[in-house]
């Protein structure tokens, strides 16, 4: 469960990205966060992953107050989140397998078990048998799939994606949207930010619309 309670985020210089946002996403929900560029979507997702701290208010994940976490505890929070970031953030000098395996290496999974999980994750995103390839040799959509496989390989209970369909053509973007729906169908709480909520419309998601740092709608 993700709970925002009167969250304000101001950046140095006085820019207010979020101006008092409150909402709740229950376990197993699929929520789509939309809004124009600069509406505060990325800031909201960064607050969930403790990449940013709120200026006031609180953010809770599964009952844990993220805003009050000590720096040492933050990595353990992130291990329970699946993060898909803008620009993929892949390691281009590593193979697809190595990229997807990174979260498992971080958590110290035994190599044999990790290899099985990587293969399963790649199969889930439709990249079975492509593990030895380098990311630079893949298309934009395939690279995004690798990033998604990396996000789900640790079997997180919450999956967060920041503009996962940006820079993709419609066909690829629809495939990625279907993938997120399939994860949600498997019981994963999914929060996706997008500039084009029509992509997810057919999956009947919960809609969160941000406008100038304020939430406009909190239900589907």
């Amino acid at each position: 469960m993700i709970v925002f309670n009167e969250v304000v985020k101001q950046y140095p210089g006085g820019y207010t990205a979020l101006a008092g946002v409150s909402f709740e996403i229950r376990h197993g929900e699929l929520a789509v966060l939309s809004g124009h560029s600069g509406a505060g979507k990325s800031t909201l997702l960064k607050l969930i992953a403790a990449i940013e701290r709120p200026t006031s208010g609180s953010v809770s994940i599964n009952g844990q107050n993220v805003s009050a976490l000590r720096p040492r505890a933050i990595p353990y929070l992130r291990r329970n989140l699946g993060l898909v970031l803008q620009e993929h953030r892949l390691l281009y000098d590593r193979s697809v397998d190595d990229n997807v395996m990174l979260p498992l290496v971080i958590t110290g999974h035994p190599p044999r078990d990790a290899a099985k999980r990587v293969a399963a994750a790649l199969e889930r995103v439709g990249l079975s048998g492509r593990g030895r390839e380098m990311p630079a040799g893949l298309s934009g959509g395939e690279q995004q799939r690798v990033a998604i496989a990396r996000a789900i390989v640790n079997r997180p209970s919450i999956l967060i994606a920041d503009e996962p369909t940006a820079h993709l053509d419609v066909a690829y973007a629809n495939e990625i949207a279907s993938l997120f729906k399939s994860f949600n169908a498997a019981g994963v709480t999914v929060l996706v930010s997008t500039h084009d909520e029509r992509l997810f419309a057919q999956h009947s998601p919960r809609r969160l619309v941000l406008h100038k740092g304020l939430l406009q709608g909190a239900g589907a």
Binding site: A49, I51, E52, P71, R72, P75, Y76, L77, R78, R79, L83, L85, R89, L90, L91, L102, P103, V105, I106, T107, G108, P110, R150, N154
Partner: protein, 300 residues
């Protein structure tokens, strides 16, 4: 615990791969570290060799206690009794006046001594102290001189003092050199790790986003610094051994001209382990400071 070993093993292998991936850079760094370390290491060995050479050439320092001509047999016996029970002495030898005279006669002074009506030589004790501390020699000298019947105590400790002073100076110089060069090595490693962190900034940021802890990120850099130091230590050892090998023959020939048998000795197992350990420690220290400095800023 097994996970801890696994993560360290992985970090160790990662550091090895990074070293192997840039062989020229690794070689140059190892040479810089090795050559810098070989100077104090060679200096230490030089002092060690000089100390053993000095001991070999000059023998063990002794104190000669000469009794007076009119010392009674009781005085001589009392002095010998005191020497026998003294824990600060490694040994002593009593040279009676008759024995001293015979030695002089054997030495070719028979004609001169033949003209004397009485033996002019006194009884004497040749005393070997336990240890080479100049202060011990001074205190023994003062104590022997106060005994009844003792006419003169001859203490040849000047060379001991000079040797100690020289060796002390040499050791201080080596320590100073080791400190300065050690500091330089820490800076070299600091800079190498700084560059490594810069080139791996993206990977570090991604790892943090995926839940990597600070120890997870730091471990490979610690191993990298320690391994680089260790490689430098190996180069230093090789340099010292090569020097010993190259100079061993000429030094032995030089010693032979003075009638001495002397061979340069290289670092033993303990010295070798100390050099390697010191080098690895310096590498670790440089990487630890660099990592603390350059990984301190948090991801935003």
């Amino acid at each position: 615990m097994s996970n801890w070993f696994y993560l360290h093993g992985r970090a160790f292998m990662q550091a090895l791969r990074r070293l192997a991936s840039q062989p020229l850079g690794t070689l140059l760094s190892a040479l810089v570290v090795g050559i810098a370390l070989s100077l104090p290491a060679a200096g230490y060995l030089l002092i060690d060799n000089v100390a053993s050479l000095a001991r070999g050439v000059s023998g063990t320092p002794e104190i000669s206690v000469f009794m007076s001509q009119d010392a009674s047999a009781e005085d001589i016996a009392a002095a010998e009794k005191r020497l026998r029970g003294d824990a600060q002495l490694a040994g002593y030898r009593h040279v009676t006046k008759d024995e001293a005279l015979r030695q002089l006669e054997k030495g070719g002074l028979g004609d001169v001594l033949g003209g004397l009506t009485a033996n002019p030589l006194p009884d004497a004790f040749i005393v070997t102290p336990r240890g080479e501390d100049p202060a011990l020699y001074d205190s023994l000298h003062a104590r022997f001189a106060a005994w009844p019947g003792v006419a003169h105590v001859q203490l040849d400790s000047a060379w001991v003092k000079r040797l100690h002073a020289l060796l002390g100076l040499g050791r201080s110089a080596v320590l100073l050199l080791a400190g300065l060069l050690g500091f330089a090595l820490v800076i070299v490693t600091f800079n190498t790790i700084r560059l490594q962190i810069l080139t791996q900034r993206h990977e570090i940021d991604v790892s943090r986003l995926l839940g990597a802890t600070d120890p997870f990120i730091r471990r490979p850099f610690y191993w990298f610094g320690s391994l680089q130091g260790l490689l430098g230590g190996c180069v230093a050892l090789a340099t010292v051994w090569a020097t010993v090998h190259a100079l061993g023959g000429p030094v032995a020939s030089l010693a032979e001209t003075y009638g001495a048998v002397f061979a340069l000795t290289g670092p033993g197992p303990h010295e070798s382990a100390a050099i390697l350990g010191f080098a690895a420690f310096l590498g670790w220290l440089g990487s630890a400071i660099s990592v603390r400095r350059h990984l301190a800023e948090r991801l935003t």
